[in-house]
Each structure stands twice: as C-alpha cells, then as structure tokens.
Amino acid sequence: MAEIRIENATKRFGDFVAVDKANLVIADKEFVVLLGPSGCGKTTLLRAVAGLGMADEGRITIGGRDVTYLPPRERKIAMVFQSYAIFPHMKVRDNIAFGLKMASVDPREIDKRVNNAAGLMHIEKLLDRYPSNMSGGQRQRVAVARAIAMQSEVLLMDEPLSNLDALLRLEMRAELKQLLAGIGATTIYVTHDQIEALSMGDRIAVMKDGLIQQVDHPTVVYDLPSNLFVGSFIGNPPMNFMRGQVQQNGALKVKIGDFELEPAERMKPLLKKYDGQQVILGIRAENMETLNHPVADGVKVQVRVVEPLGSQNLLTVKIGEDIIKVSTHPTFNVAPNNDVWLRFPADKIRWIDRDSEQVLYP
C-alpha cells in the first residue's frame, strides 16, 4: 500500500512561494499527472515528494509514513528525471543496477531485475554498452528501466518525455502508459504538455502560480474546468470565452452583442445575481453547432479564417467583441467572409464569474 498524502505543503525560495499549501491525495496504484505551465511549482512539489527539496511547511506521507523531512533514500521511491540523469561512466547494466546495489539487494536478484526491466523497455541489447553514444530515445528507456528495476511502490517522473522529438514522444506515451499500468506503482507524473496529461493520467492536478487549481479525471477537467485558467490551459484549441450581459426582462437572458441567449434552467437561479452585469461564457470549439443557413436560435457570424485540419475544419469567427474558434465537420463547406449561424447547446456552456474567474456551478 503506498498512498501519497500531501497536506498543506508549502515551499518558498526566499520571498517567492513556489508551492502554496498544496493538498493532494494519491490513492495506492493511482497515476496522477501534475500539469501546469513552466514555473507553476509542479516540479517543486514533485521534488518535495522525492525529498530533493524539503517542504517548508505541511506534511507528506507515503503509505501512512511521514516522510516530510526524510532524505530521499529512506522514502523508497524511484524517479525518472527530465534529462534522464544517466551515469555516463557506467554501462547500461550498471546504471539500472545502481539503486539495487545501494540497497544491497542480492546479486542474483539484481541480475534478474535488471534483465526484467531491460526486457520491459526493449533494451536488452544495450545492456553492455556505455550511454555516451546512445540516442535520446534509448537513454530515455534506460532511465525508465532504472526506475522500474527498483520495484518501488512509488514512481516519480519529471517530464520524462519532454526531451524526445514529437513522433517518438507519441510512441513512448502509449508504451509508458501500458507499462505503468502493468507495474502498478503509485505514480506522480509531471508535465507541461496537456495532451500528455489528458491521455495518461487517472487524474490530473492542474497547477498555476504554486496553487493547485483542480484535481479530477481527465474528462472532467476538460469538460468542467473549475476556472478560466484551467479552461484556457487544457484543450487544443483552448476553451472559447465570450462576454455576455445578464438581463432579466421577465425571462432571464444573456446578451452577446445583439444576440440573446437563454441559459439552461438550472443555471438561471445562479445568474439572477448578475442581473445587469457582465459574465463570461465558456464553450469548447467542438460543442457549437454550425449551420450555413439562418435559424431562429442561432447567431449570425462572419467567418474570418478557415483552417482545414483534416479531422475537422477550424473556423475563426467574431462574436460580439470576442474572437472564438469553432470546430466543424471537415465536409462543412465554407470560405472566409461567408456568413454562418452558430447554435450554443445550453448544457455545454460554462458560466464564469468575471472577477473571481471561477466557473459557476449550481
């Protein structure tokens, strides 16, 4: 059992608060991705779990054991570094065996585990080579093999794929996911790549400015972001945001430019408070219906840019004062300067408070 609990973990560098009262519970064998832009504190938090930079405040437990101030070697963890941190003067075999030797594991057992890990990573042929003239992909495999040979219950990965080229990254992503599911270690995986996060994690913890913004399953984080930042950071293209004016003349409506939109019934009580004020509407590009003829509940917009992306056509349109992206079926025939009509399904719209930037939930 290796549940990781992070309670109110805070880490400062001088006056700069890198991680601010982070709370996160990672269940045994769960795969959690720490996602955020560079400088958001995700690596700092990972290093606090690793023991490479102790937290200033708060508590970190692994499997119920308080490890907050323990040195790394007493935490029983394995880690893969962004630069792989392969020891250049040791053969691949000795690299993989290093941690096991430090732990005084029986030599026959070391051999077995090294071969096993190398087999899982398909690097059996590299075992007796030195890392100096290996490719990035091969080094990456050695680094992962080194971590899995430890058979730790906790596996920490700091942007393990970010130094690979795009194609290799795609390949390794799937392979790693399969591998990690097989070994069943509690895993924290740091990345700034939202697609990597969405595709790999059981849950995603989105961080910004040292604060954890949202922790949830990838589909939830994508569909129901907790705030404007999460919506704008996750997804490609990011979530669209439009300003709207709440008006209650009998029925509650929201005006976007000249267009009047009727919110979902369950949102109305919440939006009442904003009568006469602006709110922000968020909607994903693929959640709008695009038509090339007028409809009663659709808004007419002019197409500015058409980007055919193969699986979809991405349109850039202006609505009210805001520019948004709309995804259409690749067969949808449209040219720049054409008029199209957009329909907003009420249950796909997220409502955001303009001041707090938090998404409103009934």
């Binding site: 023991g51 490479l52 570094f81 941190a85 003067h89």
Partner: protein, 281 residues
C-alpha cells in the same frame, strides 16, 4: 571579353609563407636553451669548450650526464620522495573538498571561498618565518616529510578549486538521481563523482607534481643539505666554482626531464591545469 582570374589565391599563400618567418624566429628563441642543454650534455669532456659551445658534438657521449647524475642522484631521490606523496595527498584532499564545496551548500561556504582563492596567490615570503618556526616546533624541520606537508597544505586552495570547478559542471540531476537510488554522501562521491573526475585527477596530479618538483623557495628554507630536492641541489651546483658548466647543463637537463616527459606525454592535461590556474577553466 576579359577573363576573370581568381585574384588573391597566389598572394594569400605567399602571405602564409611570410608568416613562417616570425614563427621560425620564435621557434629558435624557444629551442636555443634546450639545444644548449642537450648539445653540451652529449659532448665528451674533451670537446667541451666555451668557444665551441654552439658546435654539435662529435658523437653521443654521456660523460656529462654521468657526472651530473652522480652529483644529483641523492637529490633526485629526495625529489621523488617529496613529489609522489605530495601530489597524491593534495589530489585526494582537493577532490574531497571540491566535491563538498560544489555539491553541499552550507552556510559560510560563500565566505570561505574567496579566502581559499586568495590563498593561491599569497607570496610565501609572508608566511615563511612562522612556517619555519612551526616546523621546528613539530620536529619536521630539515626533512622531506615537512616539505610534503607544506606542499599539501599550500596546495589545498588550487586543488580544491580545480575539483570544485569540475564538479560544478556535473549535472545536478545525476547527483539527485543517485540520492533517490539511496546513495549517501560518500556513496555518491565514490560511485558517481569520483569516476567521472578521473581527468581532473590527472590534471591536479600533474599540476601538483610539477609545482612540487619545480619548487625552490620552500625547499631551500625547509630542508637540510642531505634532504635537498633537485632544484636546490642544481642551484647549488651551478653556484659552485668547481663544477664545470657542461656538467651544469647536463644537470639542468636531468632536473627538467621528469616534468618535460609529463608535458610531452600528458600535455593536454598539463595545459588544462595551467588554464585552471587563471580561474577560467
């Protein structure tokens, strides 16, 4: 139509040939002392004459080298007894110090560093009197062990800094990774950094070997005649009226040979040590 000839080709190679003139003059300047040492050394006693000192020897004779070697053998042995432990101990100390200073930030490290650095530059005349008194007090005055101790201690700044500068270039993740794998301070040093720093070891060993072999000031002040290393013995030989200049030349060559050999075979590391001394390595 006029044909265009490729214009400056010839001129350029002429210019390059011209550059060899100063280069060869410089070569003569650097080689003359070496020529004199070897040329005189290989002459027989009969051909030695100041008037013909530039003339080549009639054949290879070893009279001068044998005579000089007989004179200098005890001093050579003293130098070997001095240089090997001095170079070895300084390198080990420097490596450990450099490792700690580069890797473990502790309070006061920034304070210590400049003081260590300045220790490289002090004129030893400013510590010579206390050093002699101290060596007398601990009964190491006059012998080789005292001189070894002196070279080791005054070598700490340069050896520490050379290693520190090297260890600072080792990626931090390498060390962290070893820590994650359960390696403590000494294990990290022994398994990761020490093997990586073998080239630095060679650099520092050579540096300390050369400076201890070539040192004169400490040796002349701290050792008694029986324990004189080669530099002091050679200087003494050169100052004496009895010993002929040709034997002095041969002696100078013998004294220079060990460091010259190191330079010829390990010049790359020697140069790196030199440049590290300029704080730029």
């Amino acid at each position: 139509m006029t044909t265009l000839t490729p214009p400056r080709r010839e001129k350029k190679s002429q210019r390059k040939l011209l550059l060899y003139i100063p280069l060869l003059l410089a070569t003569a300047f650097y080689l003359i002392p070496l020529y004199l040492m070897l040329n005189t050394g290989f002459k027989s006693f009969a051909e030695v004459d100041l008037q013909t000192m530039w003339r080549l020897p009639s054949g290879l004779h070893f009279d001068n080298f044998t005579a000089a070697f007989e004179q200098l053998a005890p001093a050579l042995w003293n130098s070997i007894r001095l240089v090997i432990p001095a170079a070895f101990i300084s390198s080990v100390l420097g490596s450990i110090n450099g490792f700690v200073l580069a890797r473990w930030k502790f309070r006061g490290a920034d304070f210590i560093f400049p003081f260590l650095l300045f220790g490289m530059f002090i004129p030893y005349q400013s510590i010579l009197i206390p050093l002699v008194e101290f060596m007398r007090d601990i009964n190491l005055y006059g012998g080789v062990p005292g001189l070894v101790l002196t070279h080791v201690i005054y070598g700490i700044p340069i050896t520490t800094l050379t290693f520190r500068n090297y260890y600072a270039t080792v990626p931090n993740e390498l060390v962290e990774s070893a820590r994650i794998d359960g390696a403590g301070l000494l294990e990290t040093y022994w398994n990761i950094l020490l093997p990586l720093s073998i080239p630095s070891f060679v650099v520092v060993l050579i540096w300390q070997f050369t400076s201890a072999w070539n040192d004169f000031l400490f040796a002349v002040v701290l050792t008694s005649p029986a324990n004189w290393p080669i530099t002091v013995a050679l200087n003494n030989m050169a100052g004496s009226q009895i010993i002929e200049w040709n034997v002095q030349m041969a002696g100078a060559f013998i004294a220079a040979l060990p460091t010259l050999l190191v330079y010829i075979f390990l010049g790359r590391y020697f140069l790196r040590g030199l440049l590290a001394g300029a704080l730029k390595g």
